[in-house]
């Protein structure tokens, strides 16, 4: 009896401390969640159902969802959301690279004199430039020279802390302020980016015209050879993974499909009709899969069918964008001299259907390199046992081998965490950028799911569609997280 009373007491105390939070949780998470689910199945429209006009709501079943899925715009916005997430591997690589560089910087009293000399030289040089060119023309170089000299001395004195601070700055200030700033930077007439690009592109156009045949043949040829080398490397890797029973048939098929995808885009860009190119992708992927999977395994099948899927996804995330870039080089290279004849114009960034997404991705990369991810990598790097590197040194490992066999596998849990969070945030992202920089345009090319939900929920007021779209987003986040944990954890534990 006494025991039960003390248990009740403990529960009451425990819940008592929880109470304020629980009330908030109920009011602002659970109730809205339930309401949202309910709204998604109704025809709630702000114009017809509000305090002044109360037409009765009616349940429409799955009509909102079918409306979404039968509208090409919705698929377009979903595609945009995923396209913008292609920046994630670059951001992860950038954060890792920055963290690796930062750990190499050490406090070196002896280096201070050298740094001071170098800083003085930079200052003198920029001062001379200022004198020769005048404030209006060259003042900005003087300012950058000043900053560079200060950073150098600070970097040597603090053992790199100042670099870390500066790398983190864009992430820390990211928000409306930086979006507005980048909108101005991207302005094609008045922004500094195109101001800097114009002379560079003029030079480039002139060079192309001087050596037109070299470019017409050289660019596609180089891109093509590089692409083939990359593809060959991946095929060889897939074969080896299969032989070592590190990859199952699902992983091989996935790897083959990811490899064939850029080829399909190339065919399409070279003028092949979309269905035909798609068929090409399917044929190539299937043939490659069958070719690999039919190879006999000397030790019999010893791995699950879905083994190695996460590795293929990881490699595909890096490989596909690279191959797409190279494919673009092949497709556009031959036409380069003709295009250069009229002079090469810098892109109209946010105002151009094709360039708006890359422009946003570049900005996001700027903000993401020095973000929390870099901090996590720094912590991860300092947790790697030094003995591993000492052993590798004794075996005479090269720095590449040290990275791929020690650093990268040791950091796998961190990378996995960053990737999962990146996907979750990426799916929900893009609202503020779209609202401030592009209003979702041009022609919907920067409208993400979240911006679509905002438009439907707060501008057109069709709450039914907006809620249905929000639940589609929720389902996507849920499924991708499940997949990540299903396949990713295994990889992280290897």
């Amino acid at each position: 009896m006494n025991n039960r009373r003390s248990e009740l007491r403990r529960t009451l105390t425990g819940v008592g401390f929880l109470l304020p939070n629980i009330l908030g949780f109920l009011a602002f998470t659970l109730v809205p969640l339930a309401m949202s689910f309910f709204i998604a199945f109704t025809d709630w429209d702000i114009l017809r159902h509000n305090i002044f006009r109360r037409e009765s709501l009616s349940f429409v079943g799955f009509e909102n969802f079918t409306w979404l899925f039968t509208h090409p715009e919705f698929w377009h916005y979903m595609g945009n959301t995923f396209f913008l997430m292609l920046g994630l591997p670059f951001a992860i690589a950038g954060s890792l690279g920055a963290a690796l560089l930062l750990t190499r910087v050490s406090r070196h009293p002896a280096a201070l004199r050298g740094a001071l000399v170098l800083a003085t030289l930079v200052l003198i040089a920029s001062g001379l430039v200022l004198l020769a060119g005048g404030m209006a023309e060259m003042g900005v170089w003087f300012i950058f020279g000043l900053l560079a000299a200060g950073m150098l001395v600070g970097g040597v004195l603090t053992g790199g802390t100042i670099y870390r601070t500066l790398f983190y700055l864009p992430h820390f200030t990211a928000g409306v302020a930086t979006f507005v700033l980048w909108k101005k930077l991207y302005n094609p007439q008045t922004g500094p980016i195109n101001f800097a690009l114009t002379p560079v592109l003029e030079q480039f156009a002139a060079a192309v015209q001087v050596a037109a045949p070299v470019f017409a043949v050289g660019v596609p040829l180089t891109a093509g050879v590089l692409a083939l080398l990359l593809a060959g490397w991946q095929v060889r890797r897939l074969v080896r993974q299969w032989d070592d029973a590190a990859a199952g048939s699902v992983a091989v098929a996935l790897g083959a499909a990811l490899l064939a995808l850029p080829a399909g885009f190339l065919l399409h860009w070279l003028g092949m009709a979309r269905p035909l190119a798609t068929a090409g992708v399917i044929v190539v992927a299937t043939a490659l899969t069958i070719f690999i999977v039919r190879r006999p395994r000397p030790w019999g099948p010893v791995c699950a069918r879905d083994a190695g899927v996460s590795a293929e996804i990881a490699i595909g995330l890096g490989l596909v964008p690279l191959l797409l870039l190279l494919a673009a080089g092949v497709a556009l290279g031959a036409g380069l001299p003709a295009a250069a004849a009229g002079g090469i114009q810098p892109p109209n960034w946010l105002g151009d259907y094709a360039w708006a997404k890359p422009a946003i991705m570049i900005m996001a990369l700027w903000a993401a390199i020095g973000s929390n991810n870099m901090i996590l990598y720094l912590a991860g790097l300092s947790n790697i046992p030094p003995e591993l590197y000492e052993a590798a040194d004794m075996d005479g490992a090269s720095s590449m081998q040290r990275f791929w066999h020690i650093t990268w596998p040791q950091l796998a849990p961190v990378t996995f965490f960053i990737f999962v969070m990146g996907v979750i945030y990426g799916l929900q992202g893009g609202f503020e950028m779209a609202r401030i920089m592009t209003l979702g345009g041009p022609a919907g090319s920067t409208t993400t799911l979240s911006y679509f939900i905002y438009i439907e929920g707060f501008e057109t007021g069709r709450l039914g569609y907006a809620s249905a779209a929000a639940w589609v987003l929720f389902a996507l986040v849920f499924i991708l997280s499940l997949l990540n944990f299903r396949f990713g954890n295994r990889n992280a534990n290897d």
Partner: protein, 276 residues
């Protein structure tokens, strides 16, 4: 920072040059922002970086054209209240999850963790309808309340409080302290680094917040800074030079907070990711 394990110390001039160039790339946009804030209206349409003459009067001009101080005060009040409430409610919940024993505790904690995965967007539309229903649209309360409770904060502080030795609670209990006294006098002071970290995160996040104030606030005088600054980019035309002056002024407090709080923040990021 130095990690002899990763590489033998090799901070040669080459490495420092790379770091300086990267730092300049990160800082470059801010340099442009500050320089443009000193331009005249016509110069702001000119892509050259340098203003002809540094127009310091742009900054007082910002205060004349928009109620900048009012916006800043709104932002500080809203972010300040949210931070206070969120840190308090999160600390209480974290104390319950980390240091009190009661049946069903861990199951409820995992439910909490699960809600961190819910996309906030799912809740936004119904929450707004609730706000309309309760007449909280265009009020500070409507901005503060939904942000005052956080599963993330609870999680972060729980991780932190788990690291405090259990013997301290027991000693206080023997001295006759109640649970609330232990929480207030023992655990809270010991959790200070965690509380400060959460406070910075929360404050920053709400100082930046744009979406919710944008849909909730109708009266210009109640706008927080991020929404207020957009006035320069819309109805009042494109006053790029003033916009950049305003943006510079809104970013400066962040940079100052950051420089002084770096170490706390970095620790918090690492605690938060331990079990993600």
């Amino acid at each position: 920072m130095t990690d002899p394990a990763t590489q033998a110390p090799r901070s040669g001039p080459g490495l420092h040059t790379v770091m300086v160039v990267l730092s300049l790339l990160m800082v470059g946009p801010f340099v442009w922002m500050v320089l443009t804030s000193f331009k005249s209206f016509t110069e702001a349409a000119d892509p050259a970086w340098m203003p002809g003459a540094f127009r310091w009067e742009n900054y007082p001009e910002v205060f004349r054209v928009i109620p900048f101080l009012r916006f800043a005060a709104n932002s500080l009040v809203i972010a300040g209240w949210v931070t206070l409430l969120q840190v308090l409610t999160s600390a209480m919940a974290a104390y319950s999850f980390a240091r009190l024993e009661w049946p069903g505790r861990d199951r409820i904690f995992f439910l909490y963790l699960g809600t961190m995965m819910l996309p906030g967007l799912v809740m936004l539309i119904p929450t707004f309808q609730l706000m309309v229903r309760f007449g909280l649209v265009d009020t500070y309360l409507g901005l503060i309340l939904p942000a005052a409770f956080s599963a993330f904060g609870t999680f972060l502080l729980r991780q932190f409080m788990l690291g405090i030795p259990k013997a301290l609670d027991e000693a206080a209990e023997i001295d006759g302290a109640g649970k609330w006294q232990i929480f207030w006098n023992v655990i809270l002071p010991l959790s200070r680094p965690g509380l400060i970290t959460l406070a910075i995160f929360t404050f920053m996040g709400n100082y930046h917040s744009f979406f919710w104030p944008l849909v909730m606030m109708k009266t210009v005088d109640k706008f927080p800074l991020p929404v207020g600054l957009m006035l320069f980019d819309s109805e009042r035309g494109q006053a790029t030079h003033l916009l950049m002056a305003g943006v510079s002024m809104s970013v400066v407090p962040l940079i100052i907070i950051f420089i002084f709080m770096q170490r706390q923040l970095i620790r918090g990021i690492q605690i938060g990711a331990v079990k993600g």
